[in-house]
């Protein structure tokens, strides 16, 4: 991916908070990243670090009443979609930006056929006669490698396997030919053998459509296979971002290093699995300094006093750490 590639999605200083009776949970607290046309950007981090909420903020589908984006900009193809009205957002969703959810078992409506659910999305793109739409739906299913799509189209979700359902979800998500697809751990709920198939499918669709994918995962193996660049998220912020190769070969942030070190290896000596000691900070009560400080092996006083700014490491590689270059 060349540096000059055009930016399609630019998220700047995004803050999305949960407002609960007990207090404010700062689940996304200052996230910035850019997604370039046609690239796959991985967003990795442990459970609860704010990955999914970042995605929902970008889709503007936050749980009603509980969560709200309080600050920041989400610039999609040159326009700040946070300024769009709900009805304008409906025009954008499905066509410019779309999403694949984590659990295929619950992503499809159990009481409508696959064909019905696909049709709804297709009609929105270009209204046409029913016969024509059905043809398109069959083609869309064939495109995601579903065998005998003519029969499948009249079936209900419970008649399909998890992997097949997830492919249908994929077909629905890309039916509007979006420029950006957010994939929120799309393979986590699938069997390992099916995971690889699905990743290959996503990769192929991405090449065919030329769409950009924001790929959310906690699996570095998937990152290595899928992504051009990767952003590592910790406690509501992105702590390091760069090309996959650089991040793997020379991780700069202590958290990224610990994360990569904790990936089990198939080769070499077998020993105990490496884990990161401690717990991430409470999102309700974030420390003033670096959020990883309490678990970091290289911590020093200034880490606890103030949050480190973003340091440019390489041309396309940044990290938020005081001690870049000295550790």
């Amino acid at each position: 991916m060349s540096d000059s590639a055009e930016t399609i999605l630019d998220v700047r200083d995004l803050h999305t908070h949960f407002f609960l009776r007990r207090g404010v949970v700062k689940a996304v607290d200052g996230v910035s990243f850019t997604l370039r046309k046609g690239e796959v950007l991985g967003l990795v981090g442990e459970s609860g670090c704010g990955k999914s909420l970042t995605a929902l903020s970008v889709m503007r589908l936050l749980p009603k009443g509980a969560a709200r984006t309080v600050q920041g900009e989400i610039v999609l193809d040159g326009e700040n979609i946070l300024k769009r009205t709900p009805s304008q957002m409906r025009e954008i969703r499905g066509r410019k930006i779309s999403m694949v959810l984590q659990d295929p078992q619950t992503s499809l409506n159990p009481v409508f056929t696959i064909g019905d659910q696909l049709r709804e999305a297709l009609v929105r793109r270009a209204p046409a006669k029913l016969k024509e739409i059905i043809k398109q739906a069959v083609a869309a299913l064939r495109r995601v490698d579903i065998a005998a799509p003519e029969q499948r189209i009249g079936q209900y979700p419970h008649q399909m396997s998890g992997g097949m359902k997830q492919r249908v979800v994929g077909a629905i998500a890309i039916s509007g030919e979006p420029e950006v697809l957010i994939a929120d751990e799309p393979t986590t709920a699938l069997d390992v053998t099916i995971q690889l198939q699905y990743l290959k499918l996503l990769k192929r669709l991405q090449r065919e459509n030329g769409m950009a994918i924001l790929f959310i995962t906690h699996d570095f193996g998937v990152v290595a296979r899928m992504c051009d660049r990767v952003a590592v998220m910790y406690a509501g912020r992105i702590v390091e971002c760069g090309p996959v190769k650089q991040i793997f070969e020379a991780p700069s942030h202590p958290y990224t290093r610990a994360l990569i070190a904790s990936v089990p290896k198939m080769t070499g000596t077998r020993g105990r699995l490496t884990a990161i000691d401690g717990q991430p900070p409470s999102l309700m009560n974030l420390p003033a300094g670096c959020r990883f400080a309490s678990r970091c092996a290289h911590v020093e006083p200034r880490c606890l006093e103030a949050y480190p700014g973003t340091t440019q490491i390489g041309a396309d590689h940044t990290a938020d750490c005081w001690k870049i270059g000295s550790i």
Binding site: E91, R93, R95, L101, S107, N109, I172
Partner: protein, 305 residues
């Protein structure tokens, strides 16, 4: 599906036998019908003669065996008071009750389901609280009280609507409101809770991701799923309406099977009471089975298992 229906039918027969047993022995606790049928100064011979014609002189268990044997052959006996087969009396009155039910259900669903959806959409808001109040009132107001209140206001004070007996459309209004109020509350509550659950689903999120309008998301994707529990209630309510119309029909002097049940108890008309209860049970069992089959049409997951 065939095996399912067969199993349900066998269960139904067992259940009917239990119902027959209970109503037979419980009915006899109300007293002796002979006391009501003969003048106070009747001689002991007259009494004995009547008891013999009614077949009440046999030992209780023998009476029961005879009753069950005849019932199994479809003969539910003669009504003591009406001098006609008890089943015939029931089926003569049944249409009068059945004509009320669709209207009461319609009222209940037409108001209850949309109100439930709106309450769910405005969770915690003013409309939700209003709907909650409606639900509490609907459940808490006993039908004898509501019926009398409606008669007092609309028949006695305003003189707009007739207070009793069957007749033209205007005769239906007050009984239907009395029966329907409870249903509005029930449908509203179940729709609200089902909607709240469905609205959190991932498939609703996907519907929004597709860019569907809120109207489609709520009234198509959510409501169709929320209607599954509503349908369960439907079966319960139709059963309630058939059996529970006793009070309403009595208040409005409506000549249906509810009032017939009431009369059978008051006049100690054992054969009629037994027939009414057994036939009602058969009706309810049939409706429940029908609802279960109807499920299959709303929820495809049931259709194929």
């Amino acid at each position: 599906m065939k095996r399912f229906i067969a199993r349900r039918l066998i269960q139904g027969v067992v259940l009917l036998f239990m119902v027959a047993t209970i109503v037979f022995f419980l009915g006899r606790l109300t007293g002796n019908p002979v006391d009501l049928m003969l003048p106070e100064d009747a001689t002991a011979e007259d009494r004995a003669a009547l008891v013999k014609t009614l077949g009440l002189d046999e030992p209780l268990l023998d009476q029961f065996v005879i009753f069950v044997g005849k019932a199994a052959q479809g003969d539910l006996g003669q009504s003591i008071r009406m001098k006609q087969p008890a089943a015939e009396a029931f089926f003569n009155r049944l249409p009068n009750t059945l004509v009320l039910i669709p209207w009461a259900l319609l009222l209940g669903m037409a108001l209850g389901i949309p109100l439930g959806v709106l309450a769910a959409l405005n969770r915690g808001g003013l409309l939700d609280r209003f709907a909650g109040t409606v639900a509490v009132l609907g459940v808490a107001m006993p039908s004898f009280w509501l019926g009398v209140l409606l008669i007092f206001v609309f028949s006695v004070e305003l003189g707009w609507l007739p207070s009793s007996r069957m007749g033209g459309p205007e005769h239906y209004v007050l009984p239907v409101i009395t029966l329907g109020t409870f249903l509005v509350a029930g449908f509203m509550r179940i729709t609200r809770s089902a909607m709240l659950e469905v609205m959190e689903s991932e498939f609703v999120k996907l519907a929004r991701i597709k860019g569907l309008s809120e109207t489609t998301v709520i009234w198509k994707h959510c409501l169709r799923n929320a209607l599954i529990p509503v349908l369960t209630l439907w079966g319960v309510f139709v059963g309630n309406l058939i059996t529970g119309a006793i009070v309403t029909e009595t208040v409005f002097a409506w000549p249906g099977i509810g009032r017939l049940t009431y009369e059978a108890v008051i006049y100690r008309d054992y054969p009629l009471l037994q027939a009414v209860i057994i036939l009602k049970s058969i009706l309810i069992l049939t409706i429940n089975l029908g609802v279960d089959i109807l499920y299959a049409y709303v929820d495809p997951r049931i259709r194929l298992t």
